[in-house]
Subunit: 197 residues, 4 copies
């Protein structure tokens, strides 16, 4: 299988992905999220709320010999994810149409959990994720709302988590000048299982 | 050689590096810089103004079979870089004490050039870098001053560069609460050789 | 009484204030906080956690014929506040050493409440503030921790509040260049009494 | 004349202004810009590139007994400005349809110059502004492009200017949650005439 992305670093440009009207994690946020996840070959990764599949695909490229489970309740999202994975040439992703936490039961225990969206069941999803994570496992959450951040800090023991807020602007052409366009702020919450015990 | 960092993603925590009073590229900025560099195994990388070596070391981990040339004029910086590389277990870095652009003459043509500092010769360094870069090569610059950004946009053909500004804050313990601490803003300028022709 | 600040706009530079080691609201954050408070001549203003008095002093300049009650538990803070008010030439501030909410009982009902610090009794302080505020009154809170933001959104009916996050950087001299230095992020929460009813 | 805005602080909400498709300085940026301008009663203010008039109107409210000259080349902008001034109840603004620097010749020397847009003649406009400014006069520029910032730092003696970058996000309703929406970054450059001599 030929891969579109021959690099060892994440950061596939946004416009490579088909996205229709499905929300997508932007390149720079994807890169930071994957870095905080500390991926490695052979890992089992759950990507909950996988949307267009952009995070799943980059995670799959970084975990050769491993498997990424991309969970998305929206049917269109699942289709987009499959199309994007096929286009980019990634084959170690299992796309699952369904809703967390229910759909997680049948999956193998993860080394890494990435949460981009949780359909309103975030506290339950976080609890299942922390319980099921393997030793030294890591959980990384992207939050774009105040409430999601609050749910995370309440549900997770604060001592185990490292939280950043990301404000990125891009210089975009504006006539013959370049204008700064801001991406919306994102919180990245990264927690390690081991430290919890 | 055993490696401290077994992951396929960049993002070694800041406190792993010995840094004395040498300025260091912070974890999140390193991650984004390396992503914009689109590293791959076997590449020749120049890291100009390598400081504590943090970027060189992460670049070396991501380019197995390649070589990173870490150029730093400050003797203490070079020593710190060597110590850090040894601690982390990376052996494909050549540390060079010297000043760009002069010191670049004897190096093999690069696939990637990363510029963290240029000791006041930035326009010349950028010109040499763009000239010497191999086909499809990439140049990535970190700028923390307004003037560096201006020099870059003047020296480089605007059409080839992608520029972002990065504002990251970290939630740090503050009594029983967590307070947001801002990292200083950094511009990341990423240019591709191919597009210039 | 001669005033140091002859302007109709807020924004007294930080270095005008004596501050010792007492934390101080930075110029730009002060300006935005006062704007969100919608001050007017003749108002009764409570400034809870007044620190060096910088917000109280600017509020007093903007409410001629009104009174600012500057509440600060730290004795050094109260002294600094008095010194700063005297230096700048403001005489419509009553400095009170004490702790909210207890100390608020004896004060007249406010038109505006500004909360910069609450010594750990934030939920109680917010409740007293909303209860005691006059009709069309406004409550404005500065938060530098995640937990303070959470307390505010929990204690206050969400519909009445307008929340912003402020990330300001200043270009500071760095050799012959200018380097961006980030102020830490601050949330400003502004709530209107009237809308609650 | 009855005023819509009875407060002594700037910060009229964005949705008060009619704006059609004319770009408008956002509330928080307006507030900071006016603060950096250090307005006072009786001043002569030039607002160059006045757009919807939002900055002119707030400046006029803060300079009773003074006059704001609102210069805008776009006819629709001038009309919107007049409508907005009338709605808000401000009568000390002279709206001028024309282009700087030419149109500035016939105006009285200013105490304050605010530049939001300059139709491509920024260097000339800045030179005229600095020359014509009265003693202790101030010039404040809003820049949303990299090039405008560069033009400003080149045209103005660096020692006289104070530069900040403003990144504001607003918490906007998103279902039952609140999502952070970023305003685009703006540079505010504030220069004082006196220090130049």
């Amino acid at each position: 299988m030929t891969r579109f992305w021959p690099f060892s670093t994440p950061g596939i440009p946004d416009d490579v992905f088909k996205r229709d009207k499905v929300p997508m994690t932007k390149e720079e946020v994807r890169v930071l999220t994957l870095a905080k996840a500390r991926l490695a070959p052979g890992q089992v990764v759950w990507d909950i709320g996988s949307g267009t599949g952009s995070l799943s695909i980059e995670a799959a490229l970084l975990t050769p010999g491993g498997t990424v489970y991309a969970i998305e309740k929206n049917t269109l999202g699942v289709e987009l994810g499959r199309d994007n994975a096929s286009k980019i040439g990634v084959d170690n992703i299992v796309f699952i149409q369904g809703e967390a936490p229910g759909v997680l039961e049948k999956l193998p225990d993860p080394d890494r959990v990435i949460v981009g969206g949780s359909g309103g069941y975030l506290p339950q999803v976080l609890q299942v994720a922390m319980n099921r994570l393997n030793k030294k496992g890591r959980l990384v959450i992207n939050a774009v709302t105040m409430e999601t951040l609050t749910h995370c800090t309440e549900a997770l023991s604060e001592k185990n988590c490292d939280i950043i807020q990301v404000n990125i602007s891009r210089a975009e052409p504006f006539g013959k000048y370049r204008m700064w366009r801001a991406l919306n702020p994102v919180y990245i919450i990264a927690c390690e299982k081991e430290l919890q015990a």
